[in-house]
């Protein structure tokens, strides 16, 4: 099986995550190839070991943009006819993936959180209906099989024992029908859906100082913090942080629930969660029916344990 993976830049961890997963499910015989548009030739070989070949494309133009990535991917697919091509589910990856599916008249599965191989076909797994169920999808007849992959779902594995070859760069011509005139960093817009580890605070958080402790803990673990409906109604947290039927429906890998009673309204928002750890003082709290790991106790005492050795603001 031949697999192409889009590299967005020279240190693209997302590409390495996808490569690692494909190596894990495809074994040693899998041919993994990276496709990388560049403004300048590579000065050194990036992260060795994951790919058999790297296909750099030099782009004529002021800025590297969507259409150069598209051109590089199309050129690679036309020349090398891979069985599978993967994109990270970034705005750019998604855009290139969609155009590619139409160009090669083939299937595309968006936002996969799992991948497998069955009968030499790629099994693409994604949450459906707001994370309520999982769907396994295949592209039986058309090639390449295309998928975008959620960032940070797969871990970067051990480097496989084969060498990577860099090809002579090809030159892609400037596409004057699409030009980027200027580019600047936008204000960071927060999106809970991107978070893989979530700390969810419930009704036990009834004061701003308590929420501050939750925020500090989230920073401590590199997690994102969220709340149930109650703290939002009390005006302690903005709506964007609300999880549940009337808020966001999420599918994090780990959710730590602190002082959450576990109403259906809230828990529906975590249907896709892979691991739920619940801390509650009430042993009978419904949240424990959903949790994988149960701790009966005061969440603020536990927070004090976690934050030992750090100051109150979580900045060490």
């Amino acid at each position: 099986m031949r697999v192409g993976i889009l590299w967005l830049h020279e240190k693209d961890e997302l590409a390495l995550q996808m490569a690692s997963k494909m190596r894990e499910i495809g074994g040693e015989d899998l041919i993994l190839e990276g496709v990388l548009p560049l403004l300048r030739p590579l000065t050194k070989t990036p992260e060795e070991g994951f790919f058999h070949h790297l296909y750099p494309y030099l782009c004529q133009g002021e800025k590297l943009h969507l259409m150069y990535f598209k051109a590089a991917v199309w050129d690679y697919i036309e020349t090398h006819r891979p069985d599978v091509f993967l994109f990270s589910a970034t705005d750019l990856g998604r855009s290139v993936a969609a155009m590619t599916a139409a160009r090669f008249e083939t299937g595309l599965t968006a936002d996969c959180t799992g991948l497998g191989i069955q009968d030499e076909k790629l099994v693409q797994i994604r949450p459906a209906y707001g994370g309520n169920v999982y769907a396994e999808i295949i592209t039986p007849h058309t090639r390449p099989q295309l998928a975008t992959i959620r960032p940070n779902i797969f871990k970067i594995g051990e480097k496989a024992a084969f060498s990577m070859r860099v090809h002579e760069p090809k030159i892609l011509k400037e596409d004057l029908s699409f030009q980027v005139l200027s580019q600047e960093r936008a204000e960071k817009v927060f999106d809970l859906k991107e978070a893989n580890v979530i700390i969810l605070a419930g009704g036990a958080v009834d004061k701003a100082e308590k929420l501050d402790k939750i925020k500090a803990l989230a920073q401590h673990f590199g997690a994102s913090w969220a709340v149930t409906r109650k703290p939002v109604q009390m005006g302690l947290a903005p709506y964007e942080r609300q999880v549940g039927v009337s808020g966001q429906i999420l599918s994090p890998q780990v959710a730590l629930l602190l002082g959450v009673s576990g109403t259906t309204q809230t828990m529906t928002g975590l249907f896709g969660a892979q691991k739920i750890i619940a801390v509650n003082q009430d042993e009978q709290a419904p949240v424990f029916e959903y949790a994988h790991i149960k701790i009966v106790g005061d969440c603020f005492e536990l927070i004090a344990q976690w934050m030992k050795g750090e100051n109150e603001n979580g900045e060490n």
Partner: protein, 259 residues
């Protein structure tokens, strides 16, 4: 100039009643609503139409409930509506949906600018617009936050992608998506909502196209192998030990060092 907007009717997943045991949506009890991010597409389309004095049309594909999406578009100020309705269209994946819409958009003259919402609330893929652009042979400009100008054959707009704000010059015809919360929210009057109910909607079925064109799930390049509920362990593992031990155990999971 003509501007086309793609809209969609989606199940009300958020408010849907669920089976308390399995968490499944009780589909027979689910209503439908116009896709929330399409409202932003309508505002974006109408802002451009006002700037260019362009004609506007909306198109949807789906069963009879989908008419509500066209009615909503009318109430916002969209002038014409096309409803692609045929059991043959059912179950289409993104590629097939884009293909079907690309054929429908040609009805009554192709628009120079086609506008889509960022994503649908049910499929949640955000891939349709990109596919549609290539099927129509159009340019593609995702995530527009602001129209700057149209000069000759070129559309100038601001777009937000992966945390960057870009100013882009793109040759028309073009397919654009609208980044939510970017354009002024203009809600329709009660009068406009009532008037929208009386307006005619053109209906297109599979018979309006070549008999060689296939549609729906069977003609979709992706197929669903299976759908399953995420595993939920009803019995939580009770973590005992001292608070210090509990904290350490959980910390390892939070850092991805243990499962």
């Amino acid at each position: 100039m003509k501007i086309g907007v793609c809209v969609k009717q989606v199940p009300m997943v958020r408010e849907a009643p669920r089976d308390l045991e399995t968490g499944s949506i009780l589909r027979e009890l689910v209503g439908s609503e116009p896709n929330p991010s399409d409202v932003h597409a309508l505002w974006g389309a109408l802002a451009l139409a006002e700037m260019q004095k362009a004609r506007t049309m909306a198109i949807t594909m789906g069963p009879k409930q989908a008419k509500a999406s066209i009615r909503q578009a009318f109430s916002f100020g969209i002038e014409e509506g096309i409803h692609m309705m045929d059991p043959a269209f059912a179950g289409a994946d993104v590629w097939m949906t884009a293909k079907t819409l690309s054929l429908g958009l040609g009805h009554g003259g192709l628009p120079e600018v086609v506008i889509c919402g960022k994503e649908s609330a049910d499929g949640d893929t955000g891939q349709l617009a990109g596919e549609l652009s290539q099927m129509l042979g159009y340019g593609f400009l995702p995530h527009v936050t602001k129209w700057l100008k149209i000069e000759g054959d070129f559309l100038y707009a601001e777009s937000k992608m992966d945390g960057q704000v870009l100013q882009i010059k793109v040759k028309m015809p073009v397919v654009c998506t609208i980044y939510p919360e970017s354009f002024e929210k203009k809600y329709p009057s009660f009068r406009a909502v009532m008037d929208a109910k009386k307006r005619p909607i053109s209906v297109l079925t599979a018979k309006d196209f070549s008999p060689h064109q296939s549609f729906g799930y069977g003609a979709s390049p992706t197929q669903i192998l299976k759908i399953y509920e995420p595993k939920r362990e009803r019995k939580a593992h009770l973590l005992t030990g001292t608070q210090e031990e509990q904290a350490l155990f959980v910390a390892q999971i939070m850092r991805g060092e243990a499962k």
